[in-house]
């Protein structure tokens, strides 16, 4: 299991122990974490699972995948260098303790 910490726009902190291989988006939905919508189910067709990877972790979550940068243009909240679509971050052992912040709006 890998620990993921979600920090909502209002500061609410949720810690989840999730199996490796699941995406940061799926884990949020499966555990009822508010602030991730994931409308298209991880098909990279929307930008409603936008998150900001905490800078300390950005090196370990890797680069944006092909097409992700483009879809982020459709995000409802500000996009920064730490913005990712959380459906494109699969959990691995190296991400144990990952912290992501969630934007104000996803729609």
């Amino acid at each position: 299991m890998v620990k993921v910490i979600y920090i909502a726009a209002d500061g609410t902190r949720t810690e989840i122990d999730a199996p490796e291989g699941e995406s940061v988006m799926r884990v949020a939905l499966a555990n009822d974490v508010e602030g991730i919508v994931g409308e298209c189910g991880g098909a990279m067709m929307c930008a409603t699972c936008h998150c900001y990877v905490e800078p300390d972790w950005a090196g370990r979550t890797g680069e944006r995948v092909s097409g992700e940068e483009d879809m982020l243009e459709g995000a409802a909240s500000e996009v920064t260098q730490y913005s990712r679509l959380s459906c494109q971050i699969p959990l691995t052992g190296a991400l144990d303790g990952l912290v992501v912040r969630l934007p104000e709006d996803q729609i």
Binding site: D32, G41, M45, C46, G67, D70, M71, G74
Partner: protein
């Protein structure tokens, strides 16, 4: 109207979104979500894609069981609504607990669609792909090497065909129309996908209807036969509007609703595949079959109910289809009356008069999302605006 109780019939992605949005909007009354299937509400789009490969049903679940508890949403599974008593403001439902009469102040119809069943002899030999149970059956059938015939060359049939080829099965697609996805895409995109599927080794039979299914073959209207020991029926859908019709609501290609998604009964709304709504872009009543329409309509209905507003629905439609490694993305809604301009390989603008109304792209998410933003605005979009975002340097082709 005091709003103390909302019933939502249909626990697909749109029905569930209506429940979620009602709570997000601050509604504190009773919410009852009625679903005919067992289990928690799930996503359907992956049923013709990732699920067939991976078989992970739990990955499709939209919200955990705890969600319904914490949000105080009554979720009734394996429950069928048998009637709507509009005079009493009640829904008559039959489920594991027997027959119930449930009172509503507002009723949301999110009943979706069912497979269209064309007049084909032996149709009982064909499998469907609408529900998780359908997909599980299909996945089990794919465990042995098959010779597959897919009846219907639309999104679902073609997504399935691409997946089945990838798994090494023999596949024929039988489409009565002269081209693939004829209702949804331009001829140029149809032709592109026809080449792709043929390259992947799928046999395409266009312009011929299936007339008979036997355990070992499908017979065509021209007398030809297609050997097949597994047949998928994917020839389009029909809206589930029988309940609405029986209740005396206006039904025409689904439950007819106005710009605010309200039916001919002001207490009853409809969304998603079963709803035929007034489209502000064309002034016509249209019905969409997409996750985007179902969820955006759910949000609008919830917001209007809770805030007491009458905001019209005007979200830009968008669609996608993943076929092997090709992602088709459509921003806006075109039709066969459109003039289509091929801007570059895999990018088509669809125009009505001088205005671009839809943009189709293959594996070009940057152009798609920029087109979506332009088309979602209030101003007409000219072809040169789309040409500009489709230009290689603007599209970030690097």
């Amino acid at each position: 109207m005091t709003l103390a109780s909302v019933i939502i019939i249909g626990a697909g992605q749109g029905g569930l979104q209506a429940a979620i949005s009602l709570r997000q909007e601050g509604f504190s009354g009773a919410i009852t979500l009625i679903g005919a299937e067992p289990g928690l509400p799930y996503q359907r789009p992956p049923l013709s894609k990732a699920y067939l490969l991976e078989g992970k049903a739990e990955a499709l679940t939209l919200r955990p069981e705890s969600f319904f508890r914490t949000k105080d949403i009554t979720y009734l599974t394996e429950t069928r609504v048998e009637g709507i008593d509009r005079a009493a403001g009640q829904v008559i439902a039959y489920g594991p607990q027997g027959t119930m009469r449930l009172g509503y102040d507002a009723l949301v119809l999110a009943t979706g669609a069912r497979n269209l069943r064309p007049p084909i002899e032996g149709l009982e030999h064909a499998l469907d792909l609408r529900t998780l149970a359908d997909a599980a059956r299909l996945r089990a059938a794919l465990a042995t090497k098959r010779r597959i015939a897919v009846i219907g060359g639309g999104f679902i049939g073609l997504e399935f065909a691409a997946m089945a080829r990838k798994l090494g099965h023999g596949v024929s697609v039988i489409e009565a129309a002269p081209r693939l996805m004829a209702r949804a895409v331009s001829p140029a995109i149809s032709a592109h996908f026809a080449r792709l599927h043929q390259d992947w080794g799928t046999e395409l039979i266009l312009g011929h209807a299936a007339t008979r299914i036997a355990p070992d073959a499908v017979t065509l209207a021209n007398g030809g036969t297609v050997p097949a020991d597994l047949v998928l029926l994917a020839a389009g859908v029909r809206p589930n509007s029988d309940l609405a019709e029986a209740a005396g609501l206006v039904v025409e290609n689904g439950v007819r609703v106005d710009a605010t998604l309200r039916s001919s009964d002001p207490a009853i709304f409809a969304l998603g595949d079963c709803a035929c709504f007034l489209d502000p872009r064309t002034g016509a009543h249209i019905r969409l079959e997409s996750v985007q329409a179902a969820t955006d309509q759910a949000r609008l209905i919830a917001a209007n109910l809770v805030r007491g507003t009458s905001t019209a629905y005007g979200a830009l439609p968008w669609f996608w289809s993943d076929q092997a490694d090709i992602k088709l993305q459509i921003a806006g809604l075109g039709g066969n009356d459109c003039t289509d301009i091929l801007l570059q390989d895999g990018v088509v603008a669809r125009l009505r008069g001088p205005d671009v109304v839809a943009v189709e792209t293959l594996n070009k998410p940057g152009i798609h999302i920029r087109a979506r933003k332009l088309l979602a605005g209030n101003d007409p979009v000219a072809l040169d605006q789309i040409s500009a975002i489709a230009a290689p340097q603007a599209a970030g082709a690097a």
